[in-house]
Symmetry: C2
Subunit: 135 residues, 2 copies
C-alpha cells in the first residue's frame, strides 16, 4: 500500500525507507564531476572518451572512467563500444539521464542567474571576517 506506485506529485512526507533511498541517490549523483559530465553529454550526445575528457576540463582519466562507470551502472548513460581499431566508445545519456539533466537544468540556470550575488556575498563575508580578526 505504501511503497509501490503512489505517483503523487505532492511533496509530502514519504516513508523513511524511500526517503533514505532518495538521499542516497542524491548523494551519488550530486558531485562536481558527475554533474559536469551529464551536462557535457547533454550538450554533445555520442561523445567519445577523449572528447569528454577535453570537455570536462580538469578531470583526470581515472576519475572520468570511474564516473562513467558509476553513471552507467545507475542507468543514466549508455556505453557503446565498437570493436574497431583504434577502439571507439561512445557515451550518451539514456532517457533517464536526459530527464535528470533537465531536472538539473534549473540549477544551472539558477547559478547562471545568481553568481554575482554569491560572489558579492563571499566578498562581504571575507571582509566581515577580516574585521573580526583585527579586533
Amino acid at each position: 500500500m505504501n511503497n509501490a506506485a503512489g505517483d503523487s506529485p505532492e511533496w509530502s512526507e514519504l516513508d523513511p525507507k524511500i526517503s533514505a533511498l532518495v538521499r542516497e541517490i542524491i548523494a551519488r549523483i550530486a558531485d562536481k564531476w558527475t554533474l559536469l559530465i551529464i551536462e557535457a553529454l547533454h550538450e554533445y550526445p555520442d561523445a567519445r572518451f577523449n572528447q569528454l575528457q577535453r570537455m570536462v576540463e580538469g578531470i583526470s582519466q581515472k576519475v572520468l572512467t570511474q564516473s562513467l562507470r558509476q553513471l552507467e551502472s545507475d542507468g543514466l548513460i549508455q556505453r557503446t563500444a565498437y570493436a574497431e581499431t583504434p577502439p571507439r566508445v561512445e557515451y550518451k545519456l539514456t532517457p533517464l539521464g536526459e530527464s535528470l539533466g533537465e531536472a538539473f537544468c534549473g540549477v544551472w540556470i539558477w547559478a547562471e542567474r545568481h553568481w554575482e550575488e554569491i560572489e558579492a556575498s563571499l566578498a562581504a563575508f571575507a571582509a566581515k571576517k577580516m574585521l573580526k580578526e583585527k579586533s
Copy 2:
C-alpha cells in the same frame, strides 16, 4: 555586451569566464550534506543547530558547522545568534537560498520519481558484471 545583464533564458554558449564561475559554484553547492541541509531548512525554517543535526541524519557536528559557514558565506543562509543562556542560534534560508532550494526541488522530485529505475539498473549492472567475471 556579453557579460552584464543579458537575461536570455536560452541555454546558449556563454563566455568561458562566467561558465567557469558557474561551474565553481555548482561544485561548491553540489555535495551531499549541503543539499540535505538546504532541504532541511527549506522544510523547517528557523531551525537551531542541534535540530539541524538531528534532521540531517548522520552528519557530524564538525561537518555541519563547516557546511553552515560555507552556506552563510555564499549568502544562502542567514545565521542569527541570540545572546541568551543557553545560547540559541537560528538558521534560515535567505531569498537566494530559497530560490536555490526551489531550483533543486526538481532534482528531488526526479529522484523520488525514478529511484526504482535506478535500483533496477544497479542490480542489472551488478548481475552483468558477475556474469562477466565468471567467464
